[in-house]
Amino acid sequence: MRAASLPGEVLGARDRDSDEELLSRARAGDPEAFRVIFDREAPGVRRFLGDLLRDDAGADEGTQETFVRAHRRLGTLEQTGKLQGWLFGIARMVFLEQIRRKRRESPMPEPAEDFSRTDCGPSPEAMLLSLESDRMLDGALADLDDERRSALLMRIDHGLGYGEIAEAMGWSLQKVKNEIHRARLQLRARLAGYLEEGAR
């Protein structure tokens, strides 16, 4: 499957409609408007679910489920400027349902927190230049607690504000800040650990 255009790249005429206009049309029952919303937002939602579920088939199904639910609930989105955060909130619920189902089938131990290496080890520049960095990132993300990983990805990968994340996660603003901070420390500790192992 080839990569999708990144947001902002090569937008066709229909892509230039504002979220507000599209949502208004979609709520009025215009299927084409919802299709445009899907085209714009689905790649981000799919990546978010892929990062959380770490299962391509599950992420594909989760993306479809997210948009089916979003369509049913279009009337509940009060602020159109928060479309992305709202979709991620739905995607997170879909993810939690899938993961609960999986855990019932095969329970997994919770990952232990280890921030001991956060302040030592190689530099972030070394991380970027490492040929293994994508694999390391994948492993480091996998080690994070699901909820913490969700919040961190919403912030860094998808650029959501703290307030939007709080709404999507159903958390207080302070909890969002704490969890993202902890996620960062944990991620960096893991990445530094990988780099050190690689240097040996």
């Binding site: 499957m1 080839r2 990569a3 999708a4 255009s5 990144l6 299927p31 919802f34 299709r35 899907f38 085209d39 689905a42 790649p43 981000g44 799919r46 990546r47 892929g50 391509d56 088939a57 594909d60 199904e61 993306t63 479809q64 948009f67 089916v68 369509h71 530099s123 972030p124 520049e125 991380m127 970027l128 040929l131 293994e132 960095s133 994508d134 694999r135 990132l137 990805l153 912030r155 860094i156 990968d157 650029g159 703290y162 800040k177 901070h181 960062r184 991620l187 960096r188």
Partner: protein, 212 residues
């Protein structure tokens, strides 16, 4: 200037601030080892995450569209068999590609996000070919069922589904054409087939329920 707050550094790293205070923060960072390291980490995290390519999702739309037309009910057993056979074959190919002896085919990341091709051995290639053929066969079964049900559908609905299926098929064909012998890309093509089959399954299910 005192150390900027974490959120201020983060806004600079994510390029979200646009605040006149940014210059002041950047100035502070230049002379402060701690903040400089923190900002470098924040930028590295962002770069690592965002340089990954986004996947195409157009092949997922037919399944969504079908479910929007008619809420989901029970899946017909015939579709289950066709989809399960394709999915089973693909799972076998993925297991074969991942578990076979020798080095794992890993992506070689670069700043440009360009991917280098992974070496592929004949057995892996054969397994991928078999899985792809099974997927194609499963898709043919489901497409045949769709052709059978299509005359009974609302013409406008049928036209829209035709359009989305044609688009999904074109996308799969294009992905397959560039995949050549790259294991990673071939496995993503299989993911694409899986999504296409799920969409077909949903579409058939809704067609049958709309016209029992």
């Amino acid at each position: 200037m005192t150390h900027p707050a974490q959120e201020e550094l983060e806004a600079v790293a994510l390029g979200q601030s646009g605040d006149p205070k940014d210059a002041e923060i950047e100035g502070h960072v230049k002379g402060c080892t701690d903040c400089s390291r923190e900002l470098a980490w924040l930028r590295a995290e962002r770069t690592l995450l965002r340089r990954r390519p986004l996947l195409q999702t157009a092949h997922l739309w037919p399944g969504v569209a079908a479910r929007l037309e008619h809420p989901r009910r029970r899946t017909h057993w015939a579709w289950r068999i066709a989809v399960a056979s394709g999915v089973g074959a693909a799972a076998a190919a993925v297991l074969f590609a991942v578990l076979r002896p020798g080095p794992l085919p890993v992506t070689q990341p670069q700043q440009s996000a360009r991917r280098e091709r992974s070496a592929i051995d004949p057995k892996t290639l054969a397994a991928l070919d078999r899985a792809e053929a099974d997927y194609r066969n499963a898709a043919k079964v489901l497409e045949g069922e769709y052709d059978r049900l299509r005359p009974r559908l609302d013409p406008e609905l049928a036209r829209r589904w035709d359009e989305t299926l044609t688009r999904a098929r074109a996308q799969l064909g294009a992905s397959r054409a560039v995949a050549a012998d790259d294991v990673n890309v071939r496995m993503r093509v299989l993911d694409g087939y899986a999504g296409y089959l799920r969409s077909l399954r949903d579409l058939l299910q809704e067609s049958e329920e709309a016209n029992p």
